[in-house]
Symmetry: C2
Subunit: 296 residues, 2 copies
């Protein structure tokens, strides 16, 4: 229990520090730009679990890196996550009116404005990466890492597969590849950016961190699918049963609740095993369990 | 006449080399991703004047840089330009069905798919910047330059001002600031990326190049406005009179045709003056004149 409090404190602190950095980056005095920056802040500061920035900060800390360098990377990864939510919520995509209980960006600012707020956040993420006081070599690694993870062969590619999956039901293997791209790639990049912020270059170490993040990313998605079918609407803060209503292929298309949960458990155990060798990884091990056991 | 043929040849060659690099970057064998990459290629390979990549390549050449390094930067800037056109054409933005005589991206692939193709091109632009064999320091400069020019304080900010301008008619000064952001920022970045590819660090030289690009960028927009009102539909390949029909504020809101043309001429002369001191700038001087005298 004591240890879980440690994790909660670390997560709260990471979220606060990331949000302060986001606010710095999203401040603009030029009145020509005030509406655009307001809309960017509206979505970037809308809360959420801040899972990705926590990973960046925790991995930087695990390998003795400076918090200050991790913060620009953490803000960058959260900007990319935020832009993807804004674009996902658009009428032509998932057409969602609410996100975390608040009206979605296009509901407040308009559809064209929401497309632009997303574009601006994605672009600013790369600017933020160049502001960290890491070596130029590490800054270039960070840009390569984030662009590959967020782009056509990563998150956007997964999102495109997801759109098509609504039309042609994917098999289990295709669903796994879809989620590795759509959710896993950015979570993995979050961990890797933390390593880069700490100047880690050893490929074996980087691979261990990627394995951890890839594992918890996939487990995260399985739990998402279980909560959507069996979770509590009030606890979740959103309507359950949405996937079934949409006729969406999920992990529960191929497994019952217990089987799916066992798979998430196995993935979590493997993820933990990949990094438990590193001194100071306790919080990251608890973090993996926390994601597995979450009820919202 | 001889000299203009030199410029035309240089522009054709730059376009071909950029397109070859774009095709390399946009090749993907994974069948999960074939549709996304097809849609990215569809818009990236749809032709156009390739003005921005020409500038990148010409400025790299002007300062003795290697063509090979300029090509990744040229492809990157054209990817950003292409993504901005895909998003501009969306139903929630300008709602255009045709671009350069071909159906727009969302008409062929669907609206959600077009949002994603744009997102993927923007993201891949930053990946492309990291692939050039320049020093890590210069690669970071390139990422900073492109992200600032394309983002909230540059192109996207200008686009947001443009959307709002349809609702609140801007004054002349606001219109200038809008176009400096919407068109000027990316054209300036194109020139600056060429300088970075050649390893130019002298601030005075960089400023001269920025002045040139900023000047031709604004002149370009004025000529655009004149052609929209007075140009020939057949020569232009698009319907004229669109701005007037949309009640859009343009340079012709504040000046008649001759005054506007004189202003474009003055901007072009100032632009040329900024770089004529550099040996080998002949083609770039002719290029400025060509943009001024264009009829489409």
């Amino acid at each position: 229990m004591m240890k879980q409090n440690d994790l909660k404190q670390a997560m709260t602190l990471a979220a606060e520090q990331t949000e302060a950095r986001l606010l710095d980056l999203l401040e603009e005095k030029d009145s020509d730009l005030s509406l655009l920056f307001e809309s960017m802040r509206y979505s970037a500061m809308a809360g959420g679990k801040r899972i990705r920035p926590y990973l960046t900060i925790a991995f930087c800390d695990l390998f003795g890196g400076r918090l200050e360098n991790a913060l620009y990377f953490a803000a960058a990864i959260e900007m990319v996550h935020t832009y993807s939510l804004i674009h996902d919520d658009l009428p032509c995509m998932d057409d969602d009116d609410l996100r975390r209980g608040k009206p979605t960006n296009h509901k407040v600012y308009g559809e064209a404005e929401a497309v632009l707020a997303g574009d601006a956040l994605l672009t600013m993420a790369f600017e933020a990466l160049t502001r960290a006081s890491v070596s130029p070599t590490d800054a270039v690694r960070a840009v390569r890492c984030l662009s590959e993870a967020a782009g056509a062969r990563g998150m956007v590619g997964g999102q495109m597969m997801d759109i098509r999956a609504e039309k042609i039901s994917p098999d289990r293997e295709t669903l796994m590849r879809l989620h590795k791209r759509k959710t896993g790639a950015l979570i993995t990049a979050a961990a890797e950016l933390g390593c880069i912020a700490a100047g880690v270059t050893d490929e074996e170490t980087l691979d261990a961190c990627r394995q951890y993040a890839g594992g918890i990313g996939l487990a995260f998605q399985i739990i998402d699918d279980i909560l959507d079918r069996y979770g509590d609407t009030a606890t979740l803060g959103k309507q359950t049963g949405q996937d079934e209503k949409d006729g969406k292929t999920t992990f529960l298309t191929f497994a019952d609740k217990n089987e799916a949960y066992s798979e998430a458990e196995l993935l979590t155990d493997e993820a933990k095993a990949a990094i438990e060798v590193f001194d100071g990884s306790e919080n990251l091990l608890l973090f993996a369990d926390m994601l597995l056991h979450r009820t919202h």
